[in-house]
Amino acid sequence: MTKKKKRQNPEAEDLLARPWCYYCERDFDDLKILIAHQKAKHYKCERCGRRLNTAGGLRVHMEQVHKEQLEAVDNALPGRESIDLEIFGTEGIPESEVNAHNQRILAAVAQREADRRAASGQSGNAPKRPKVDISKDLDPENIKKKLEAHKKAMAAAVAGGGVGGAGPGGAMSPASAVVGGRSASPGQAGGYEQQQPPAAGFQNPAPAPFQQGAYPIPQAPAYPAAPVYPPQNQTAYPAPYHQPTFQQPPASFGRGAPVPPGPGYNSFQPSGPPHATHPPFSPNGGPGYNPNPHNQFQPQQGPPPQQHISRAPSSLPQPHQIPGLPPRPNAPGLPPRPNFGGVPINNSGFGRGGGGWNQQQQQGQGQMYPQAGGANAGFAEAGGYPPTGPMQQSYNQPSYQQQQQQPQHGNHNYQPHSTNGHGHAHGRNGNPTAEENKPTPETTQSSLPDAQPAEKKKDGKEKPKRETKMVYADNEISPEEKRAMLPRYEYHPALEVSN
């Protein structure tokens, strides 16, 4: 039982410790299996089937035995085919790649956690929280001060027409926006608890750190961090935060908030900007905001979003760019890591899709699934992939989900490239009104941070949607017909014949 549980929710350390294959980003239960995998998939001579130990070995073998030049490693992810690296097991992988890999794992873990929290509506069962030194806060003096401040805050809030509470709806209160923006969690309490710095055991004083000290006026609007968040945040988080959230936070505090009060608040700030300025991160439920115990994780949040922001606008086709796998330390919106439970070397047909962070899209290539019958099983098994993406979801059913398809037709015709962010917006449970209400996050997903979390909030059980983009999205006119309409191919047989 315990073992099983662990498999379902592996800790980041365990994942990081798993040996993984540089060429296909799959990870394995142990090194031996990895090496067997590499020999079978990447270092196998396609002429005679001999399995070599390294790419270099295979190159020499090809040269000497078959008098051929090895150009690339077989079944490798795009960009990783180089034969210059001498990789055996996990030995020899460039450090930058190792770091990128680790970061992907951490991001996936964070994502999973966020998903789970979103799914359960609570953060109660979050695996591990750092123990926090709350002695400072236990200082009675301090408590009193906080209590005082809090009372003031309450009074002010009431006097001010409940700014803090009513805010979210009116998009007026930065406080609520801050809370909303930082939290991907659907439950009010959950969201609050996650973010609120104060330590466990503090009931009334809990909100105090927010208002205290730096912000003498207990009015929520005084948060300096608030301006950081673009207004979209507020609109993206309309309803969920009600008055009660703000005024009765203690309920959730009992469960032990992660970060110590003072520093807690500060520590949220550094991670704030990335969130606000680097949209792509939020779809993960904002890994940056997760009370993630791993210190190394937070600092690493910095670079990736920046990199991404430059890529985001140009994220469209140029097929040769798509591979851009390795150079990106932490691609945003990564799918959660698959195959925690192992499933080591089955699916023999599995080349590139063997696993790893981008398995989601490739697993379809790796294996074929019957449409009828055991389709579900097939998918689930090969994916090993609990929070699986939308496509799999919908295709598990014998026929595609209409909801998803129909709108795509409508919007995608003639403008294949504007389809970004559309796919995910179609909730699996298809909530048309929700979509109508939120045209903005839907259409400009790439520039809006909170589209996805907002979606999640709508429905805690909703699976995270993968965006999809069809390169050729016109379902009525074939590419040939379109090409035939180009002036250079124009031809009028009737005229020619009469001539």
Partner: protein, 336 residues
């Protein structure tokens, strides 16, 4: 990427997008390629280091499809000039067999009935006897024809609006079966299995379906579809059209080519992917196995299919690659 040892690029490829390519059913080194450059090109893939072009047949307009007839001496083409032509490799001259009311998208030759089938955007198919073109039969269809494939006495007609009709060539008066494609998006290509048990079809939405002719429930239960030719960029699933399918004449496995420039080999029976080749720099426009199954010809062209919105095709993206298959490569699992 320099070329790996087991494949080579044909010299003097077409100058514009490749519309289709096919190996001769009689000669493992004759390759016929139709192109938007208004020519049909005939290559000898065995000549010299990189093959050589034997003939080019100029046409009045872009050519959309081509196929071999009974022998290598009879070659057929069809295209934007609304005509179906018989070409003579000796003289390089064309002879019009039939004329449609719109561009002719697809043609195929049926060896059983010794007839040529042509399908056009004018929503009709014609059954042409090349020896007596005057006895051509025309059969109206409900939609534009996108792809034809024939084997034994069967003809599969893939049309727009996801419509698929199966005909028995001995009785063309009405369709043998009317089906809806099991793919939810526009059909790109349909190809019959060499064992005449069924067919595979592909759609613009990165998906391939395998279906069987036999209308019985058990057979229909065996049909399936799977996703392929997709990639992820920045968390977005990019889905490419699957432009080309080709069955291996001996093993019955098949290859698919997508807008992503990837060619994959599949074992349709075991439902497994056998191989995936290194990605080519442009969309795969055509695939064909040689009759002995030893070579796979791959045509690549850039255009709408790989995300080029204005359909521009840089000439350097037009390539014909002939890949030599290793012993047993393309053999399905469990095949002896």
């Amino acid at each position: 990427m320099s070329q790996p040892a087991n494949q080579f690029e044909l010299s003097s490829p077409p100058e514009d997008v490749i519309s289709s390519l096919t190996f001769s059913p009689n000669n493992p080194s004759r390759l016929l390629v139709s192109s938007w450059d208004k020519n049909v090109h005939l290559y000898d893939t065995n000549a010299g280091l990189n093959g050589s072009k034997l003939t080019a047949f100029p046409h009045a307009a872009s050519v959309l499809d081509c196929c071999f007839g009974e022998t290598d001496g009879s070659v057929f083409s069809a295209g934007l000039d609304w005509q179906v032509q018989q070409l003579d490799p000796e003289t390089g001259k064309g002879n019009t067999l039939a004329t449609h009311e719109s561009a002719v998208k697809s043609i195929c030759y049926n060896t059983e009935t010794k007839s040529l089938l042509s399908g056009s955007w004018d929503q009709s198919i014609k059954q042409i006897d090349p020896r007596s073109p005057e006895s051509t039969g025309s059969h109206a269809q409900p939609h534009k024809i996108f792809s034809l494939s024939t084997i034994s006495h069967k003809l599969v007609v893939a049309m727009s609006s996801r419509s698929v009709y199966l005909y028995d060539l001995r009785n063309m008066s009405s369709p043998w079966q009317r089906r809806e494609s099991s793919l939810k998006f526009m059909t790109r290509t349909v190809r019959c299995m060499p064992n005449a048990q069924g067919y595979a079809s592909s759609s613009i939405e990165g998906r391939v379906a395998v279906e069987f002719f036999d209308p019985s429930d058990e057979s229909q239960k065996r049909k399936y579809a799977f996703k392929c030719h997709r990639s992820t960029e920045g968390g977005v699933d990019v889905i490419y059209p699957v432009n080309a399918l080709a069955f291996h004449p001996i093993y019955g496995t098949f290859a698919s080519g997508g807008g992503d420039g990837v060619v994959s080999l599949w074992d349709g029976m075991a439902k497994r992917r056998l191989r995936q080749y290194q990605r080519y720099p442009a969309s795969i426009a055509g695939l064909s196995f040689s009759n002995n199954g030893k070579h796979l010809a791959i045509g690549t062209s850039s255009g709408f299919e790989d995300g080029n919105d204005d359909g521009v095709c840089p000439p350097e993206s037009v390539k014909i690659i002939v890949r030599e298959l290793q012993e047993g490569e393309g053999k399905g699992k469990g095949q002896s």
